[in-house]
C-alpha cells in the first residue's frame, strides 16, 4: 500500500496536462500589446456601439471617437467589464433598474428574503461581518444573470454579489474620463476602486447589452473571489468600502 499523499504527489507528475511550452511566448506577446481590448472582440464592439446608442437616446450631442480610441482603458474583473469613455456620459435616468440597484423601501422581512435568496442563487451568499455594516434592510435577487445576482441593502451601502458566468461579463461599467480606477486587493483577491461616477449596463445571457438598464453609480469597490464578483457601493471613502469588503465572509 502506498501512502495517499505520496500517491497524489506522484499523480501530479503523470497528469496528461498541457505542456505549456508556448505559454511564455503567448503571454509575452499579449502583455506586450498595449490595448488589451481595443475593440478586438465582437462583444467589445457591440458594447461600444450600444454605448453610442445610449448617448443618442439621452440626447447628448457628443462626438464618439472610433472604437479603438474610445476605449482608453479596460479592466475586466469577474462578471464586470470596466471601460473608460473618452467623454463624460450625461446623467442617466433616475429609475434604478439595473440589477442590484439600491432601492428605497425598507424591507422588514429582509432575513426571510435572505433565506429565499440563498436558495435562488448558485453560490454561497457572503455577508459583511464588520460592525460598521449595521443591519440588513433589504435583499434583492436578479436571476437574469446566469447563476444569479443578489443585492444586500444596508443603511449606508449595498453589497452586490454576482455569479461569474463563464460565457463572459454580465455587467458593463462605463467610467467617465476624470474617474480614477485604483487597483485594490480584498482578502488576497484582485479588485478595483472606481473613484467616481460611472454608468452601469446589464449584459443579458445572449450577450446583448440592455440599454434600458443604464444608470449612474457612485464610487464602488469591486473584486472577484471564487466564482463570484462582489461590489460595495455607497461609500465616498475608499477606506470605508475596504473595511466592509474585508469583512465579507
Amino acid at each position: 500500500m502506498i501512502d495517499l499523499e505520496s500517491a497524489l504527489l506522484d499523480l501530479a507528475e503523470h497528469l496528461d496536462r498541457p505542456t505549456g511550452e508556448g505559454l511564455t511566448g503567448a503571454v509575452v506577446s499579449r502583455i506586450s500589446t498595449p490595448a488589451p481590448a481595443a475593440g478586438s472582440s465582437a462583444r467589445t464592439r457591440m458594447l461600444l456601439a450600444i454605448a453610442a446608442v445610449v448617448l443618442v437616446i439621452v440626447g447628448a450631442v457628443l462626438a464618439i471617437a472610433p472604437a479603438r480610441n474610445a476605449v482608453a482603458d479596460w479592466l475586466g474583473i469577474g462578471a464586470v467589464d470596466i471601460r473608460r469613455s473618452e467623454h463624460p456620459l450625461p446623467p442617466g435616468p433616475s429609475s434604478l433598474t439595473v440589477p442590484g440597484a439600491p432601492g428605497t423601501a425598507r424591507d422588514r422581512a429582509a432575513l426571510r428574503k435572505l433565506a429565499a435568496a440563498r436558495r435562488a442563487v448558485k453560490f454561497t451568499i457572503a455577508m459583511p461581518t464588520a460592525r460598521l455594516a449595521g443591519t440588513l434592510s433589504g435583499v434583492e435577487v436578479d436571476q437574469r444573470v446566469p447563476g444569479g445576482l443578489v443585492a444586500l441593502r444596508y443603511t449606508r451601502f449595498t453589497l452586490v454579489e454576482i455569479a461569474i458566468d463563464p460565457a463572459g461579463p454580465t455587467i458593463a461599467k462605463f467610467i467617465d474620463p476624470g474617474v480614477v480606477v485604483e487597483p485594490a486587493v480584498v482578502g488576497g483577491a484582485p479588485g478595483f476602486w472606481v473613484t467616481g461616477a460611472h454608468d452601469l449596463l446589464y449584459i443579458d445571457r445572449h450577450g446583448t447589452t440592455r440599454i434600458e438598464t443604464v444608470r449612474r453609480s457612485g464610487p464602488v469597490l469591486v473584486w472577484a473571489k471564487g466564482a463570484v464578483t462582489y461590489r460595495v457601493e455607497g461609500f465616498r471613502r475608499r477606506a470605508d468600502a475596504q473595511r466592509i469588503a474585508d469583512s465579507v465572509r
Partner: protein, 181 residues
Amino acid sequence: MDGRRDAELVNAAREGDVDAFAALVERHREPVLRFAYGIAGNEAEDAVQDGFVKAYRSLGGFRTDAAFRPWLFTIVANEARNRRRSWARRNKLALQVSDEPQPVAATPDDVAAQHEQRQRLLDAVAELPERYREVVALRYFGGLSENETAEVLSCPVGTAKSRLSRALGLLRGALGEEGAL
C-alpha cells in the same frame, strides 16, 4: 533560469520589464498548469494564459510585501473556475502515456497495474465535490504549502487543513477501505 527572487522580478515587471515577467511565467507555469488541469481539464492552458496576463495587468495592485505565488494561484483559480462549466465533464482527466524508462525489474503487468492505480486515483479526484477537488489540486498538483493554500482559498489555515483532511477521507472512501493503492 533567472536567479532573481519573485519579489525582485515582480518589482521589475511593475516597471514594465516584460522579460522579468516572462521569467515569472517560466518559473511558475508547471505547477500552475498542473493545478489548473485538476480544476478545468483541457481548458487549463487557456485559464493559465489568461491568468498570467491578468496578473501582469494587476501588478499595480499587488502588495509588494505579499507572496507572488499564492496571489498568482488566486487569479488562475478564478480563471479555471470560470472555465470549469464549459469543460464537459465527459472529458475526464487523463494520465500521460508514459515514455519514462521503467525499472528493470518492472514487468508489463507491473506497469499496467501502476497506470490503473493512478487512473483510479485521478478518477476519484475528478469526482470530488469542487471545494475538495480544489484544495487537493492546490496542495498536491500545485505544490502549495498549507499557508499558501489557505491564502488562495481565503480561509484560515485550520479551515484549509480540515478541508484537505476531509478531501483525503473522501478519496480513501472512494478507493475502498484498503486505500486501493
